[in-house]
């Protein structure tokens, strides 16, 4: 899913030049047609999935967002009511604020961690594959229910964190159940899953030619100078890629907050994430129309944020191949 687009080392062999023989041309055309059909047949399950499972419901939810659909019973067209209602809904504002804090604090922290660790591991540590796997592990587990339950325990009143603090003579609180700290524990959880951007950073670092560093050190550039003048600029496309990916992911996070809060944003709505509020309105309050509208607003938010990112990228992302 998070594979890097690595340019092929060798150009692929060119197609055999077509001979001007008409019979041969027809044959090869037929062959290509057959190949294309085979390809399409193999693609068909994916197409069907896209249309039936993704595109269909997507369009349905767009329609429903203009109705008062409640899951049970009939629904009526209500125009833009669901959309205007959000502005007067304090819980919507709360959910949006929580999510924004979560995204804009945890993603930069997570990426910095990932980059720092990638730099250390790139120094040619012995047993790199093992370390890489270990640090990647949280990324695989991070959004699972099991880890969220573990988080509850670790940051609970009698959890590991407080045991450690007690050792230092500090009296802890129940971090997950305190409205001032609950969101913080979720941010820490997201930062902890720095493995997948780290692996991508590692791959990116490997692509920077060693000769650049050689030349720089001959010119008398120190390690820090090398990092800012060579590593960082050449890594900007990777940073950009990670940033986009993690921003989108973070905006949509659901499981952790759902499990840690017991499904209702507790304590006092401090962990009410956007997606959780959508879910609660749709399935708990049976306001599926309103929930659909919120889901579409989230799509707009993520899309415009990504668009801004792409526009901004002109000013800071450096592509070496240009």
């Amino acid at each position: 899913m998070t594979a890097v687009q690595v340019p092929p080392k060798q150009a692929l062999p060119q197609a055999v030049p077509v001979l001007p023989d008409p019979e041969h041309a027809r044959q090869s055309r037929r062959k290509r047609r057959r190949e294309a059909l085979t390809a399409l047949a193999f693609l068909a399950p994916w197409f069907v999935g896209l249309i039936v499972i993704t595109a269909g419901p997507l369009l349905a939810s767009l329609y429903l967002s203009f109705t008062d659909y409640s899951l049970l019973g009939d629904h009526e067209w209500v125009g833009l009511d669901n959309y205007t209602r959000m502005f007067d809904d304090p819980r919507f504002v709360k959910a949006l604020t929580n999510t924004a804090i979560y995204v804009f604090v945890s993603v930069p922290l997570q990426l910095s961690f990932a980059l720092a660790l990638a730099l250390i591991l790139d120094r040619g540590v012995r047993g790199l594959p093992i370390y890489r796997s270990i640090y990647y592990l949280p990324s695989l587990l991070g959004s699972s229910v099991a880890i969220a339950i573990l988080w509850r325990k670790v940051f609970g009143a009698d959890g590991l964190v407080n045991d450690f603090l007690g050792f230092l003579g500090i009296q802890g609180t129940s971090w997950v159940s305190n409205p001032d700290t609950a969101l913080g524990t979720l941010i820490v959880l997201n930062v902890w899953t720095f493995g997948s951007p780290m692996v991508i950073f590692l791959a990116g670092l490997r692509q920077i030619p060693g000769s650049y560093y050689e030349a720089a050190s001959i010119d008398g550039a120190g390690k820090i100078r090398q990092f800012f003048s060579i590593t960082l600029p050449l890594l900007t496309p990777i940073i950009f890629f990670n940033l986009i990916l993690q921003l989108i992911n973070a905006f949509q996070s659901f499981t952790q907050a759902y499990v840690v809060s017991g499904g209702n944003g507790s304590p006092a709505d401090s962990t009410l994430f956007y997606t959780m509020y959508v879910y609660e309105r749709g399935f708990n309050a049976w306001q599926m129309g309103y929930a659909s509208a919120m889901a579409w607003v989230l799509v707009l938010i993520i899309a415009s944020l990504t668009a801004v990112n792409f526009l901004m990228s002109k000013y800071w992302v450096f592509y070496n191949d240009k």
Binding site: R32, P179, F283, A285
Partner: protein, 430 residues
């Protein structure tokens, strides 16, 4: 490349046709309520709960199938958290299970939206408890049959109380002040980490509290509780924490959101708490100590206990089900068959069929007999069970907890919380 594009359409057509036929096939077998070849019908039966409940319910199903060879029952169970999401989605897509469990908070909404079948004539209700039965009745139609009886009461861990050197209070006369005082003294007299009681935002507590002041929880389409009562109720939690009778706000929130297993009583870290009477067994097992059920404290000078008989859950049948008679038979079996009651015990509340109860009484475990005796002793003191709630009531418990947390963390005063809660609740109900 261009002429290849045209070739997309046959592929898409084939793919589309395949999906369509797959979907149709799914309709035939997927609903699962088709007739078997040998005149058998299959009905689907859905409930929520933990492993022990799943086990005994499966056992009861096996017995039902033995007694009704022409009906097969397909059990579909899930955990509580996802139960309504699943059920609502199934009902919305006309794929509802034939028989399912439901509770009072959602009964009114499902019934009034036409999703439940009229059980009149399908289930024999002649032996069922007359006080409890009407709670399954919405707009004069018996849409649901209570699974059993329950009441919300105070539970007391005797070992913790003895450690504190205190005696069991007289629950026929104690007031909310006595409750606060006793809880605070237990906290003082015991080690740190052991408390008098735990914070409880259960709407049942508020119902009792309000009933004692002569207020109903709901009117037909709004909250029936006054702002003053709600303010006092929110303040009662703050008082418990301030007096050291309950853990601090953060710890209380952590305990409060996780149920019986982590409760103060079950972990022997507290003496009291408010729970449903059918949770006595779990509390006793969890703590390994003797746990006693007590009446709720009273408002000084109030002439009613405010306590009520609660239908633990209901059995209901889907309006869309095509085997209503078989569904009715299953519900009848669950409610009226002594052998079913033997298997199911008091897991979904004490059996509400008096004849059945009499027959299996001697075989019941001690904790069931204790809660049965408690409810019997309270006969006359318990008010009628609540009737189906107004639409939107499913949201009220979470809302109550949310504003309760605002109060105990000092982010809102009890007055502010009461007024904001009533405002939001009245916008939701209707």
């Amino acid at each position: 490349m261009f002429h290849h594009k045209k070739r997309i359409w046959p592929v898409l057509l084939v793919a589309g046709a395949l999906t369509f036929s797959a979907a149709c096939a799914g309709d035939d077998s997927g609903s699962g309520s088709g007739d078997g070849g040998d005149g058998q019908v299959t009905i689907r039966f859905s409930w929520w709960g933990d492993d022990s409940r799943h086990r005994i319910t499966e056992e009861a199903i096996a017995l039902f199938e033995e007694k009704n060879p022409d009906i097969r029952v397909q059990g579909e169970y899930s955990a509580w958290d996802s139960y309504y999401d699943q059920l609502t989605t199934q009902v919305a897509s006309n794929d509802a299970p034939d028989v399912f469990a439901i509770e009072i908070r959602r009964l009114g909404e499902f019934a009034r939206r036409g999703s439940l079948a009229d059980l009149g004539g399908l289930v024999d209700t002649s032996d069922l408890n007359e006080q409890l039965l009407p709670s399954g009745n919405v707009d004069d139609v018996q849409y649901a049959i209570p699974t059993g009886a329950n009441t919300f009461a105070v539970m007391l861990n005797k070992a913790v109380l003895e450690d504190a050197g205190l005696e069991v209070p007289d629950d026929t006369s104690w007031t909310w002040e006595d409750y606060l005082e006793l809880s605070a003294r237990i906290g003082e007299n015991t080690d740190s980490g052991v408390y008098g009681t735990q914070i409880n935002f259960n709407d049942a507590y508020l119902r009792v509290f309000a009933n004692q002041r002569g207020e109903d929880f709901y009117t037909d389409d709004a909250m029936g509780i006054s702002e003053e009562t709600l303010t006092d109720w929110f303040r009662s939690h703050l008082d418990l924490i301030d007096a050291g009778a309950s853990p601090d706000a953060a710890r209380s929130t952590e305990i409060g959101s996780t149920g019986v297993e982590t409760s103060l009583i079950a972990t022997n870290t507290g003496a009291m708490g408010m729970w449903w009477s059918n949770q006595l067994n779990a509390m006793t097992t969890g703590s390994g100590q003797e746990v006693e059920v007590l009446r709720m404290p009273r408002e000084a000078g109030s002439d009613t206990s405010g306590m009520f008989l609660q239908p633990t859950m209901f059995w209901a049948a889907a309006e869309s089900g095509s085997h209503r008679e078989a569904a009715g038979k299953l519900i009848d079996f669950l409610a009226n068959d002594p052998d079913a009651a033997r298997i199911l015990g008091s897991d979904r509340g004490l059996p509400m069929n008096d004849a059945v109860l009499e027959e299996i009484r001697d075989e019941m475990p001690e904790t069931d007999i204790a809660s049965l005796e408690f409810i019997s002793a309270m006969e006359g003191e318990l008010t009628d069970p609540p009737r189906a709630y107004p639409a939107g009531a499913g949201e009220i418990p979470d809302m109550l907890q949310r504003y309760g947390e605002e109060v105990i963390f000092g982010r809102m005063s009890p007055e502010e919380a009461a007024s904001a809660f009533l405002n939001e609740a009245d916008n939701t109900l209707g």
